[in-house]
Symmetry: C2
Subunit: 437 residues, 2 copies
Amino acid sequence: MIDTLINARWVLPVAPEFKVLENHSIAIEHGRIIDLLPIDEAAEKYSARHIIERSNHVVMPGLINAHTHIAMSLFRGLADDLPLMTWLNDHIWPAEASQINPEFMRLGTQLGIAEMLKSGTTCFHDMYFYPDVVARTASDLGMRATVGMIVIDFPSAWASNADEYFEKGLAVSDEYKTDPLISTVFAPHAPYTVNDDNFKRIVATAYELEKPIHIHLHETESEVSDSVEKTGQRPMQRMENLGVLSPDLIAVHMTELSDEEIEKLAHNGVNVVHCPESNMKLASGFCPVDKLIKAGVNVALGTDGAASNNDHDMLGEMRSAAMLAKVVAKDATAVSAQTAIEMATINGAKALGLGDEIGSLEVDKWADICCIDLSALNTQPVHNPVSQIVYSASASQVSDVWVAGKHLLNQKLLTNLDEAELSEDVQKWHSNFTESP
Amino acid sequence: MIDTLINARWVLPVAPEFKVLENHSIAIEHGRIIDLLPIDEAAEKYSARHIIERSNHVVMPGLINAHTHIAMSLFRGLADDLPLMTWLNDHIWPAEASQINPEFMRLGTQLGIAEMLKSGTTCFHDMYFYPDVVARTASDLGMRATVGMIVIDFPSAWASNADEYFEKGLAVSDEYKTDPLISTVFAPHAPYTVNDDNFKRIVATAYELEKPIHIHLHETESEVSDSVEKTGQRPMQRMENLGVLSPDLIAVHMTELSDEEIEKLAHNGVNVVHCPESNMKLASGFCPVDKLIKAGVNVALGTDGAASNNDHDMLGEMRSAAMLAKVVAKDATAVSAQTAIEMATINGAKALGLGDEIGSLEVDKWADICCIDLSALNTQPVHNPVSQIVYSASASQVSDVWVAGKHLLNQKLLTNLDEAELSEDVQKWHSNFTESP
């Protein structure tokens, strides 16, 4: 008697080989995948406490959102269609200054996790304040997360100086050392907000603790040109000199890249997180995704924060990534639906240092699973389930999600959160926010 | 006693002025809007046979999909991620050759209309074969459509030569002359598939009958360079010489445009239909939407066919349009959420020659209305309903649709179609298609 058997019309294991299995079952025990086999064989081989029939559905690895600022979900739509500096100076920074505290972080993280689970995401990387609260909230809800030990050269509600950022970040890392759902990575905000000394300290500590480093890098043309003006170096060159470029680096955005820099990323095994919707909406630029992939760079996918995207919908992000890459590369074969799915699953897992644990439906990996109903008219007929997932399905078709074998979304209902209560809390926060001076 | 009163949390009339009305009612009688006023005033002034309470919802004009090939919904996902000529030669054209007939057109149109209604679209422009079947199907279902009298220089299942294309197209136009839901426009396929004589005949007949002309124009770089090679002229120049450029022209795609050509479009009052997702997915190029709008060109929005997009979701298309325009213009203020909504409503109406009849919630216009529920977690909190519609809402949040006052989608249920039956028919077609040699 095993825990769970999921019988699905289509199964996409994603790795070790990308293929579509028809009428297959996934067997789950102790939170991990123990078998993947035809439904009729599974019926003979296993009895299970929970047998889940999903006969119009595709079952695939849970989506991995490799870059967000999750609690910003509360600022979703607060200020759009503005120049970057107006947006930051007049809206986001004042809102952060007045709002960021543990309570805000808890509520914003709950809202973000609820939205993620309802759209098939089972793991997210967060880079924001109060990683302790984000980790606690995720762990309590059974959600997988990697949280960033943020380092930035100015004081915030979370910490007032470099020592405090390091100390508090490392305390979070210590606290969750044995939590199977939570891992921690260093998160220097960006080259222009972290000085050389702090980078050196991060590199040394990350090396010692075997932690990845997650950073905004080459997000915009002006970031690069400002750096050249101030330091005589492009940010990537400075990162290389500081020893930051390595297979443990997760470089986010990367819209401004020369062919030589692309080669250097590949040579150093650097992971890139592409955030197509944020890059479009903030007019940041075009990440050369097709070139990066062809050069052998591991490219993952992220939504960025919901204040700049404005959602946590990784199905939509896959679609945007696949579409945008084609027109940027002037090649309709660039970033296929298969590639987009790999970016949102196994590539994300590898980038976050979790490639052996999640990102595909393979025996012994955690049962982090997403199930999508393709019976909706907008995904009919199903000539090819892979195309339908990326180019036609919407988040509302995600029917089920499991994280480490726990059924967190069951036929579109959250099992770990009272949605109505959460919605009320969010609206209460919003009323207070709009009434505050 | 009037027919319908819709009481909504937010109402977006879109025109004559773009604003957000809170707690307003729309009064409907004989299929048209007769009043727009605060809910409390409406309660005193009107009694209605149908009182619709939508307290978490935004009510706005029904979306107008200004360019599609609707029956291609049956080819959705048939072949993706391929070079254009492989896609056409090896997949789409053979599929069309074996499949296109009145029965296919009827089923594909039903599927497309069902998908459109469920995602808030109340009017579409179709350019494909058998406009008679498309018109009949739309009219029977209560859907508004403008159908293209297709003209193309090669034979198809619909017609075998120019005379037959004209004759059959004009017969459709005649048949629906008095149908309030259906209008007809000339639809020469593209400059490279229609000869000068046929263009002259279209221009003369369209002028006489006061019909718009809808055409694929400057879709790709190679269309333009091929034309220069063959005729010594860019397609737009040829169109100008043939008298095609006018306020009655609806030019679709327009990815390759010089600043001079943009000025010429503005000067001639030409309407442009932007299809951002198709342009991205087929690697066609970037339409300079922000420049066009700033030059005063009326820019509408279309999904293109579901074989190249792959859906009929105009909310998604608005979002893609707003996001893509920003990064193309290198300006985060380009194509605001407001502008995207205007493109998908009033601009579409104007382009199709229906600017006095639909496209906004104004007294005396048809009650073509879309209602979106913003209570879902992914659109919470609502700092700004306009942002939420464009940047966060998904098609699944469309709760209701009225066309000419008829409630065709009622709390997410189609009232004019049996969804299960339609789905079965589509799957039956799909089985036959995949089994055919």
